[in-house]
């Protein structure tokens, strides 16, 4: 039996030095990545970039791919590993493409936001995504200038894309599952006199449909996940 090719399948592969120093196995990274994928898919806004998970999984894929090259052709395991690699690649691709789609949609808004968030030390976009956003928005602005604005009277030539560009609708409804017990979430402020504030308790394991705005903080600290 040749077990020579793969070695460290489930040792820890990721140290996060900043917050809790947790040892993470590939299984956990994959699970977190899949969760991040679904959250990104269903959230109306762009979520902070999970660069650590992506890089870590890419390393794993590359490592496995190299290992497979060393196995002699026709080995029983190759087809199984290839299938798994394809499945993981699919999740990764889908995650990144959904992000690009959001960046195209909200480009100018995101660049503004990014400038503010930088102070708070949150990585909203990866460097590559930021570059893409800048170029994309730049191209649109250039296009608008060439086709329309330059033919306008001089006092109307200045135009901020961010002021008219689309913004994510944080009031869209989402489905989510609760991961940790959370008491008294305010779902709806008592805006009018006729309605009291709606407050609900979130039990771990329960599922709900609610507007995105009241739960987005819970999403970012991992109390809930979108489904």
């Amino acid at each position: 039996m040749a077990g020579d090719y793969e070695t460290h399948a489930q040792e820890e592969i990721l140290h996060s030095d900043e917050d809790e120093t947790e040892l993470t196995t590939p299984i956990e990274v994959l699970q977190k990545l899949e969760e991040a994928w679904l959250n990104e898919k269903f959230a109306p806004e762009l979520l902070p970039y999970k660069g650590e998970l992506v890089d870590c999984m890419l390393d794993q894929l590359q490592h496995m791919d190299q290992n497979l090259r060393r196995v002699k052709p026709g080995d029983f395991r190759i087809i199984i590993h290839k299938m798994e690699l394809d499945r993981i690649q699919f999740v990764l691709n889908s995650y990144l493409r959904i992000r690009l789609e959001k960046i195209e949609r909200f480009g100018a808004y995101l660049l503004n936001l990014e400038a503010q968030e930088e102070a708070e030390n949150i990585e909203l976009m990866s460097p590559e995504e930021k570059l893409f956003a800048q170029q994309y928005v730049g191209n649109i602005e250039g296009y608008l200038h060439d086709t329309i604005l330059q033919h306008m009277p001089p006092n109307m030539e200045h135009f901020q894309l961010a002021s008219v560009g689309s913004k994510p609708n944080l009031d869209s409804y989402v489905f989510f599952k609760v991961l940790k017990d959370t008491p008294s979430l305010v779902v709806e402020e008592g805006a009018s006199e006729t309605r009291e504030s709606d407050i609900i308790d979130l039990e771990a394991g329960s599922q709900h449909i609610i507007r995105y705005r009241p739960v987005y903080r819970l999403l970012q600290n991992g109390t809930v996940k979108l489904i």
Binding site: M1, G3, E6, A9, Q10, P26, I27, L30, E34, K41, F42, P44, Q60, L61, M64, F76, R77, I79, I80, H81, M83, E84, R87, I88, F90, S94, R97, I98, E101, K102, R105, N169, D171, S172, Y173, V174, F175, V187, E188, A191, S192, D198, I200, G205, S206, Q207, H208, I209, I210, R211, I227
Partner: protein, 191 residues
């Protein structure tokens, strides 16, 4: 393939279902295989071993194993489940969060491995229909009651997915309309 923010295709739900574990009886022997998503094996002929569904499907297609039906894939269990679902006002817990997809997949690749396969398929479809009817009537009540949130315990992903685009779009529009109308009234009171 449709990619998109807020949209999930049935194929993607099935993709998630394929991670569920099933038991197979391999007809070959092989040591442990170290997958990124966890180890599988060792495989010994005729000894049961748990593998993810996507692997089971592949092995079955290559005629390298026989499948053990999941313990809920049983006429009596499902008859009982159907009755329970029928009697209960709320959604009951399903034996698997991906019961529909798993049944569908196993029936298409290994109908011979599952006793009473046709009956089981019918029962699963019946249960699905009962649940979808419940879902439709609760959505109706939810919207007419102008509720701001709803609890959806035990609803499976595939079930959520069938109503997702219509329901979320409707609620978003209703919310917008409500915002506009409440803004209008508070303003008229002020002036």
């Amino acid at each position: 393939m449709e990619l998109g923010v807020g949209i999930m295709s049935p194929a993607e739900v099935e993709f998630l279902a394929e991670k569920e574990l099933v038991t197979i009886f391999p007809n070959f022997s092989h040591g442990k295989i170290y997958l990124i998503s966890g180890d599988v094996g060792p495989f010994v002929p005729s000894l049961p071993v748990q593998v993810p569904l996507w692997l089971a499907v592949n092995l079955k297609q290559r005629q390298k194993c026989r499948l053990l039906p999941l313990d809920w894939m049983n006429k009596d269990v499902l008859e009982e489940k159907k009755q329970e679902e029928y009697n209960n006002k709320f959604f009951t817990a399903m034996p698997s969060p991906h019961y529909r997809e798993i049944t569908q997949l196993l029936m298409s690749i290994a109908p011979m491995d599952i006793p009473h396969a046709e009956d089981i398929q019918t029962l699963i479809k019946d249960i699905w229909d009962i649940r979808m009817a419940k879902l439709r009537s609760s959505i109706d009540a939810f919207i007419k009651g102008e509720e701001t949130h709803a609890k959806l315990d035990h609803l499976t992903l595939m079930e959520i997915n069938t109503v997702r685009p219509l329901l979320t779009n409707t609620l978003n529009k209703l919310y917008q309309l409500r915002q506009v109308s409440s803004f209008g009234t508070s303003e008229s009171q002020e002036w």
